[in-house]
Amino acid sequence: MIVHKHYFRDRQSGDAHIAVIPSTLKYVDQMEKLHQTAYGYVGYVPSDDCDECMTAAKFRNHLRVFPDGQFIAVDRDANEVVGATVSMLVNFDSAKPVLEPWVKLTDFG
């Protein structure tokens, strides 16, 4: 996979230790934990009634289907995932975009 070198160059001097890299299977558990921290539901046990909780299994699935669209930000000093992004291939009309609820578009993640 191509790693875009210029993303390692940092915009501000303060975050020189943060790198954006393609995400891989070994990070999915950390991503699940980060999702809970970022969206503020730590301690809540992901269960069937949480449609919008992202789990390691969902991240794994996205990595399998569209690996080029999955990225993470890693704090290289703390060796910790601090950001993540998930994308999906869809067809859409740029002039007349139609958005549907997240759970419908992603089939609950």
Partner: protein, 132 residues
Amino acid sequence: MYGVDSFVHPDYRSKGVGGKLMEARFATAKRRNLRGMLAGSLPIDYHKVAGEMTIEQYVREVVAGKRFDTNLSKQLRKGFKVGPIIPDYADSWSSLDWGVTIVWDNPAYRPVKRVWPVLALPATQQPSAVYP
């Protein structure tokens, strides 16, 4: 490409991390010759003024630059355009479940010309071999 999710640890916000994640997506769109990106943006500061104005008015003011939204304004700065606003997009107390359609057009996108296979060659170019 649809932006499913993008999130940053609370301690690492306002450092441009989310922007860099977005740029990585843009690079993928360019490399794979994708049309662009479609996503649903949560206008996360709407709840602060929801009593005073409608979501349409709020988004209009954010687009005009009169108001700053911690999520939507940053996406607009990245080059996203705003589309229709939909209710019940996602479970979000901060945007009151509203979602704003945002679209980024890949400037490098080139529609692929479909090349049809030649089904019949002119008579003069027909292979002359006699098949068994």
